[in-house]
Amino acid sequence: MPIMDLANPSRFLSLAGRVLPWLSAAAALVLAYGLYRVYGAPDDYQQGATAKIMFIHVPSAWLAMALWGAMSLAALGTLVWRHPLADVAAKAAAPIGAAFTLICLITGSLWGRPMWGTYWVWDARLTSVLVLLLMYLGVIALWRTIEDPSRAARAVAVLTLVGALNLPIIKFSVEWWNTLHQPASVLRLGGSTIHPSLLVPLLVMAAGFFLLCAALLLASMRNEIFRRRIRTLQMMQAETARG
């Protein structure tokens, strides 16, 4: 069984090893260019330079949601096709998603301090991102509780899919409950309401964040495969030691 499990990941490892340097370099370049564009972008007429935190805040919010989507796809891969790499991807994505969610919350509250006069308000979007963070932490906790990786993967896959079903409901209910945050303005019907001088740097930053996320995900998947190999080797060693 372990041999079969490793067969496909080996090809993945060699591919990841070749792609990763290029991906990391691309992420660094795009992020550097994005930061340069952000530096050159005009200050907001009301919020001043503070608004520039948006260039970090918004891409991390997108990634926080996108990574749950990626985890849901991986969960389908685990449950439906039993693809060995799907577990690895799901496991690697969880801490990265949690980190981007946390970045989103922290940058948001740093922005909120001068703008709203407080670090935290129980506004709808903040609250639903907080719930998203709690769900990421729950997924990580479940990963860290079940010892056998493939059983853990299946349990986490069910939780991820239930979460994916629940997240829109949570978002809707929290919005119904209380709303103060400005509505989405980049992707909406009737075109973006952001001026191009801000939109272009934002999209460059978003591209940089996505590349960074892909590089982190790939590196983390590679580490996870190595970790599983070590686990298998240790178990084989224990088996031979027992004789």
Partner: protein, 222 residues
């Protein structure tokens, strides 16, 4: 059908006998409610205002308390394997178990709510709405909790993890339950809107809960 009925009856019997722990939830609920005035102060006007929300929180926590036994007890004594191997669809068997669990642990919370409302100085009309919202909302908590119980079934000390996994999913139920319970206040004039959404959430959980739990149990077996 008879298999489901006997499973339902068995779970109900087991829950109400010694070691079943059905009434511990109500006791916990009472303790939570009676601790609140110590924390907030014995201000009756304040308690009346926050009362429905506190009852909901207490019921939410109390319903979590017993969830870890919902499937784990059957896992320990081996009857879960029989349920898994039987011809009865696992989804229906789990739904029957969850119904029995709700009657044994959720319904007593609902029945106790009017009495506990008096401790929090809630007036007669509001007692009715709080009890009604809990009657409709607690099945959603049980059926969502069913998923958590299935995920953590084989774990030692799964109860704590179960709460961590399930509480975020209970946010919508809590929001609409408390909103409906507070209906009539200036910030929430309508009762029908949140109440019907609460009914909808319960119906969704009645469907999603058994299916997700069945997937988790089937895939959890090696």
């Amino acid at each position: 059908m008879t298999a489901l009925a006997s499973l339902f009856a068995r779970d109900l019997r087991v829950a109400t006998r010694i070691g079943g722990g059905a009434m511990i939830g109500v006791l916990f609920f009472l303790i939570v409610v009676s601790l609140v005035p110590f924390a907030l102060g014995p201000d009756l006007a304040l308690l009346k205002r926050v009362g429905p929300a506190l009852l909901w929180l207490g019921a939410l926590l109390a319903s979590l308390l017993t969830l870890d036994r919902l499937i784990a007890a059957d896992h320990e004594d081996g009857s879960l394997d029989l349920i898994l191997m039987s011809e009865t669809p696992l989804e229906l068997a789990l739904a029957a178990k969850a119904c029995a669990h709700w009657i044994a642990t959720g319904l007593p919370l609902v029945v106790a709510t009017p009495l506990f409302s008096l401790l929090l100085n809630i007036d007669a009309a509001a007692i009715g709405t709080v009890t009604l919202t809990l009657l409709v909302g607690t099945p959603a908590l049980t059926f969502t909790g069913l998923i958590g119980a299935a995920l953590t079934v084989a774990l030692r000390r799964g109860g704590l993890l179960l709460s961590v996994l399930i509480l975020p999913l209970a946010v919508p139920v809590l929001i609409f339950g408390v909103s409906a319970a507070n209906a009539g206040s200036p910030e929430q004039p309508s009762f029908a809107t949140p109440f019907t959404i609460l009914c909808g959430l319960t119906l969704i959980s009645l469907i999603v809960g058994p299916f997700a739990a069945a997937i988790a149990l089937r895939h959890g077996q090696d």
